[in-house]
């Protein structure tokens, strides 16, 4: 049998195309008639913000490559230029689908639900018009800054991602078409995008968008001019920050500097109202230096992220999913301190089905516990008023030694992180910023405690960030343990992150960028060997993205050897499933649901001696080569069974799962004749049940007072 070349480009899918496919799957949720109206709006809004980020990061960097005449082909054999062309086609399709969903399904649905969005100011009733005009006078007009362009005034700076109204104006009295000038005004981001109109007689609610209010009153901005036409537009600029850490003496300053620069940059996308006057478009196109393929003609309001604001509207609960309350963790109680509970055995946390409280409490209790000597933690993205950050500061004030690794390079979060870093330093924490050139993406907390029989280390390892807000929305797993091998490794991790030498050996943890790739390769290849030897061989891997070529090739090799492989990948997947002789034994499914699937779980059958792992890393080159990530084994037998159960339920999902077809597209499962199973709903219900039964199992001890002996 001739050896198969697993590196052939046709076996791989371009990651950008795959990502756009993922966004389509999110969009399919917005089209799902089984979902409540507001939930559908939310998903549409998410596709819109997703797409913005995609342009700013991915498209921008491809544009940079094209400018730099970089022609290296990607995993699927495409040059940057080819990729941009493919993206343009797919992105235009996606946008078209977004707006057809919006116009054809959601707008009518909203109206049905008693919430009307007045799409054009021309459609306002007389009464509404009066309200709008007054609103404009009182609230909007004072903050508007119209800007005109003529020979004396250059084209103004249009800020990234802002919504603007472009207009052609001509001096009153002159012939209109003779000399139209360009003017522009930013739709103020300080004002709410959605303005509620007064309820009409039958109590129907209606809203209008801020830009419509401005358009309605645009004449008032250019008093001596006639407004020939006015249309909204929006631009997207290159915002990919490539930090040069070698040069930046002070990382903090460098990032602060870059933040100010971010608003300048090449325009990589121009969104305009579909019916924009060609003359106006021509001016924008030339002044902003945009190519035709980068122009998106939109049949509806630009920037659909405003829909998220509608999602939170009061009095519309019946159009939203019942909010899910994360349940208490089975086996845990409020009576004993968390350290005692961890000593009884490792604890698995499955968010958001189970509450994030234990993680917060872990740090909170450590801050107060007199026996705790030190707390060390990595912080990647923290929430607005993070109770964890507060607890860390408190711990430092209580005299604990607190070491916090603050990752400044968390995308779009730098400003936030710099703030925390400074605040923690002031509180007396030892703040470190990680290793030069490597993002610290691992999620680990170490509590060192001095106990009767010596130092004991408690560790939390997780797949998701220490962010109590996202822990309600992202599905993640975590483990609380005081296993000595893990404790020792955790100490070594923080020593390494502080710039000290790596330990002589690791007990349990595997770190990227040095060892994780090799470890995964070994684990995959071991299955290949088992399959070849006729032993049971199976891989189940759940992650957010898979785009590492070496790993994919190893998976193809494993599949070719007969290893059964199930991949549960929410987002990008450059692996092509079901290719004859290459990936016949590989199945890829993507679960897109109410919660964002975020956990990374790995299962290897290993000839019967099964191994379970969890990690902070995806199978992406950036995770394996450019970040500090942690892969940790799941060793407790009970937790292994729980993890197996989690994977199995996800594999059985036939409601929210999309299965990859050999052509790389995804399709939902044919549900005919099957009992419906939605993994996320299942876990929600299961968690509620377990939380109810749990207290009985671990019932706190109650002494029964003795009764006097009766005569």
């Amino acid at each position: 049998m001739a050896a198969i070349d697993f590196d052939k480009p046709e076996y791989y899918i371009n990651r950008e195309c795959s990502w756009l496919g993922f966004n389509s799957r999110v969009l399919s949720e917005a089209r799902d008639k089984n979902l409540p109206m507001l939930e559908r709006l939310k998903f549409l809004s998410i596709t819109s913000s997703n797409l913005d980020e995609f342009f700013m990061i991915r498209v921008a960097s491809l544009k940079d490559m094209v400018h730099a005449k970089y022609t290296k082909k990607d995993i699927a054999g495409m040059t940057p230029t080819e990729q941009l062309a493919a993206i343009a086609v797919q992105a235009h399709e996606l946008v078209a689908q977004q707006y057809s969903t919006y116009n054809r399904s959601l707008l009518p649905l909203m109206k049905q639900c008693g919430l009307e969005l007045v799409t054009e100011h021309e459609k306002l009733t007389k009464q509404q018009k009066a309200f709008v005009d007054q609103y404009f006078e009182e609230n909007v007009y004072p903050v508007l800054t119209p800007m005109a362009m003529d020979s004396a005034r250059p084209f103004p700076l249009i800020r990234n991602k802002t919504l603007n109204i472009g207009a052609l104006i001509s001096k009153k009295g002159e012939k209109e078409k003779a000399k139209a000038e360009f003017a522009t005004v930013q739709v103020p981001s300080v004002l709410p995008r959605i303005v509620q109109l007064p309820e009409d007689a039958d109590g129907k609610r209606s809203v209008i968008l801020l830009e419509e209010i401005i358009e309605q009153n645009i004449d008032k901005l250019f008093l001596n001019y006639n407004v020939v036409c006015a249309h909204p537009y929006r631009i997207m600029r290159n915002a990919d920050l490539a930090y040069d850490e070698d040069e930046a003496a002070d990382l903090l300053k460098e990032i602060e500097k870059k933040l100010k620069k971010r608003q300048w940059g090449e325009v990589i996308r121009l969104e305009i109202e579909e019916k924009m006057e060609p003359k106006l478009l021509k001016i924008l196109k030339s002044e902003l230096n945009v190519k035709e393929e980068d122009i998106y003609r939109i049949s509806g309001p630009l920037d659909l992220t405003f829909l998220m604001k509608l999602y939170g509207m009061e009095g519309m609960d019946k159009y939203r999913n019942q909010p899910y309350k994360p349940q208490s963790v089975p086996g845990m109680n409020d009576e004993e301190d968390i350290f005692t509970q961890i000593r009884k055995g490792d604890i698995l946390l499955h968010h958001p089905y189970m509450t994030f409280e234990p993680v917060v409490n872990f740090v909170k209790q450590a801050a107060k516990d007199p026996d705790v000597l030190a707390i060390k933690q990595t912080l990647y993205r923290v929430s607005g008023h993070s109770p964890i950050v507060a607890a860390l500061a408190q711990a430092a004030e209580n005299g604990k030694q607190v070491t916090v690794l603050v990752e400044l390079k968390a995308r779009f979060d730098e400003e936030n992180n710099i703030l925390w870093a400074k605040m923690l330093e002031q509180a007396g924490c030892h703040v470190i910023y990680g290793l030069l050139g490597l993002k610290t993406h691992s999620k680990i907390t170490l509590v060192v405690r001095r106990e009767e029989d010596g130092i004991r280390r408690y560790v939390h390892l997780g797949t998701g960030n220490y962010n109590d807000s996202t822990a309600k929305l992202y599905t993640d797993c975590g483990i609380l343990t005081c296993a000595e091998p893990i404790g020792e490794d955790a100490t070594a991790v923080f020593n390494m992150l502080s710039g000290y030498s790596e330990p002589k050996h690791w007990n349990s943890l595997v770190l990227a960028p040095l060892w994780m790739r090799d470890a995964f390769m070994r684990l995959i290849q071991r299955e290949t060997h088992h399959a070849k030897a006729g032993e049971p061989a199976r891989i189940i891997a759940k992650m957010n993205s898979l785009c590492d070529k070496e790993i994919i090739a190893a998976l193809y090799e494993a599949s070719a050897a007969g290893v059964e492989i199930d991949l549960i990948i929410r987002g990008i997947c450059c692996l092509r499933a079901g290719v004859p002789k290459v990936s016949e034994h590989i199945r890829v499914r993507s679960i897109v649901g109410n919660f964002l699937e975020h956990a990374r779980i790995f299962y290897f059958e290993n000839g019967g001696d099964e191994e379970f792992y969890m990690a902070s890393a995806d199978w992406m080159p950036r995770n394996l080569d450019k970040r500090v990530e942690i892969l940790f084994p799941v060793e407790s037998p009970e937790i292994r069974e729980k993890v197996r159960h989690i994977l199995q339920i996800q594999l059985d999902d036939n409601v929210k799962a999309h299965v990859m077809q050999p052509d790389g597209s995804y399709e939902k499962i044919d549900k005919r004749g099957k009992a419906l199973l939605c993994a996320q709903d299942y876990f929600c219900e299961e968690a509620v049940k377990l939380a109810q039964t749990a207290p009985e199992e671990g019932k706190s001890r109650v002494f029964i007072p003795a009764e006097p002996i009766e005569d």
């Binding site: 030694q401 010596g454 020792e488 020593n495 002589k504």
Partner: protein, 528 residues
């Protein structure tokens, strides 16, 4: 040992757990290990932090460490101190080795670092350092005892020298310092090197020459089957040979040859990448591997043992032994004495005379404890002084004291600091020559007043007991020493004529009385 002054008073001090930090400032690596004693395990390493700081290159080449590197070192040590505080460490020992010893401005530099970091730093002499290194291996007691049952050599590869210690039948026979080190070899030979094969040839030439001398003197016809190598950064090479149940990794001659062949052609960058070590460390690996190869050949070694223990382990082990947190079946004092005895044998000292004197001297020392107030360490020094007191005769019968002094000062006695060695040399010298008082002595020596007092006391004891075996015929066996008021009575049961001994005794007793204000009396009991 220095007490931080915390960890006492409040808190759960009922806990019998002791936290100790060992800091080792080496030529290429500065390391700290924190140990816990009396917890779930008798001795347990709970933290290990190390930073690569190549201060050795500066010291060996320029004679001082550049201020930039001193600053780096201070930063690291400050951080270490912070980590110690984090664990509520109550005692620590911070030691520097050859890089500090080789720096001309050592005292100034040390003072600066101590003030900057708040850590007290001991600069170990070569023999102290090697002794601690040796203890680090001995800390893995069972396996160590097993290895040294057969002829074995412990080779400690340092930046500027090799220390070769020879064992046979559980006992240390000798320990020698060879001035060929992994850093210095590379630094000195690099300019002369044509290619890698040439470098290998030159290193082999230099070392073989040194080893030939060693072999003639000490190895003789022994086949040293086991070679234990510490330092030199070669532990990384043998990782694949690690065995789960063995604490000390070992490879056979053939296995080592395989490793050697693989790396000998590599440049440091390749080695660094291949074995995932720093290029600094990798640069020392090739010379170290050549040393091992060369010695295995010359000694006839069949197994190479590579314990992955460091100075820090030794310091902690030492601390634990001293504080009785752990017990060792192996006696390290015996090792020191064994190496002293092997020196005395080399200089043809009368062993019977020495044994007789040792017994007497120690008896006197023990009876006089309340008066002289000296401790265990001085007792050991006395014993070594007795063992070496006659070595000068090997060179000249006329100028015994000066020759003995010079021999001792030029000989490394493992386990002793330089000051202790000097104390022994003076004790031996004053045994037969005029005692020099401090005002005069202090011009020539660096020993302190306290140390001088010990020298005086040890001299007084040595002089007196030496008189009792004036004839070297061990007439005064089974002596009984008693102390009553201000009289020290030495009773000897002997049928022989002791007039010569009595005469000498009275002469030497004078100094004894001067030092202790105790009058020694010599009594012969002819009949029992």
């Amino acid at each position: 040992m220095v007490d931080f002054g915390f960890g006492k008073g409040k808190g759960k001090e009922s806990m019998s757990i002791k936290m100790f930090a060992a800091v080792a400032i080496g030529s290429t690596v500065t390391e700290m290990k924190i140990f816990e004693f009396g917890g779930r395990k008798a001795m347990k390493e709970i933290e290990c932090v190390s930073a690569r700081l190549n201060i050795g290159v500066d010291a060996y080449n320029m004679g001082h460490i550049s201020s930039e590197k001193i600053e780096d070192l201070c930063e690291v040590l400050k951080d270490f101190r912070r980590i110690m505080l984090g664990y509520k460490v109550t005692e620590y020992k911070a030691c520097a080795t050859s890089a500090f010893r080789e720096s001309r401005n050592m005292l100034i530099m040390r003072d600066y670092i101590e003030k900057q970091t708040g850590l007290k730093i001991d600069v170990l002499s070569n023999s102290e350092q090697r002794f601690v290194d040796y203890k680090s291996i001995a800390s893995v007691t069972a396996e160590f005892e097993q290895i040294i049952r057969n002829p074995a050599a412990i080779v400690d590869i340092g930046g500027d020298s090799l220390q070769i210690s020879l064992f046979d039948k559980d006992k240390l026979i000798t320990t020698q310092n060879v001035r060929v080190g992994s850093v210095t070899t590379r630094e000195r030979l690099a300019p002369l090197t044509k290619n890698r094969a040439h470098f290998e040839k030159m290193v082999v030439e230099i070392l073989s020459h040194e080893l030939a001398g060693f072999g003639r003197l000490y190895q003789k016809d022994r086949q040293i089957k086991n070679l234990i190598v510490i330092g030199g950064g070669i532990t990384e090479l043998t990782h694949p040979y690690e065995q789960q149940n063995k604490k000390i990794t070992s490879v056979t001659l053939d296995q080592f040859q395989t490793i050697y062949d693989r790396i000998i052609g590599m440049n440091p960058e390749e080695i660094a990448e291949r074995f995932e070590i720093s290029s600094e460390q990798a640069a020392g690996v090739v010379p170290s591997a050549i040393f091992c190869k060369c010695m295995m050949g010359d000694f006839g070694a069949e197994t190479l043992w590579i314990p992955d223990y460091s100075l820090c382990d030794g310091l902690a082990y030492d601390y634990a032994l001293k504080n009785r947190f752990i017990k060792s079946t192996h006696s390290f004092e015996e090792d020191i004495l064994a190496s002293a005895r092997s020196i005395s044998k080399r200089y043809k000292c009368s062993q019977a005379h020495i044994r007789n004197l040792e017994e007497l001297a120690l008896q006197v020392f023990d009876r006089m404890k309340k008066i002289h107030g000296m401790g265990k360490r001085e007792r050991l020094l006395l014993q070594i002084a007795v063992i070496l007191h006659n070595c000068g005769k090997f060179i000249s019968l006329e100028d015994v004291s000066e020759c003995a002094y010079n021999i001792i000062m030029a000989t490394e006695i493992i386990g002793l600091s330089d000051v202790e060695r000097e104390m022994i040399a003076y004790t031996v010298k004053f045994n037969t020559s005029r005692f020099v008082y401090y005002d005069e002595l202090s011009v020539r020596t660096s020993i302190s007043r306290n140390e001088y007092m010990s020298v005086a006391k040890l001299t007084a004891i040595l002089r007196m007991v030496n008189a009792l075996d004036r004839t070297h015929r061990q007439k005064c066996k089974n002596a009984v020493v008693t102390l009553k008021e201000h009289e020290l009575k030495i009773t000897v049961a002997s049928q022989e004529d002791l007039s010569l001994e009595i005469g000498t005794f009275n002469e030497k007793a004078e100094f004894f009385e001067e030092v202790f204000n105790v009058h020694p009396v010599f009594k012969q009991r002819k009949q029992l």
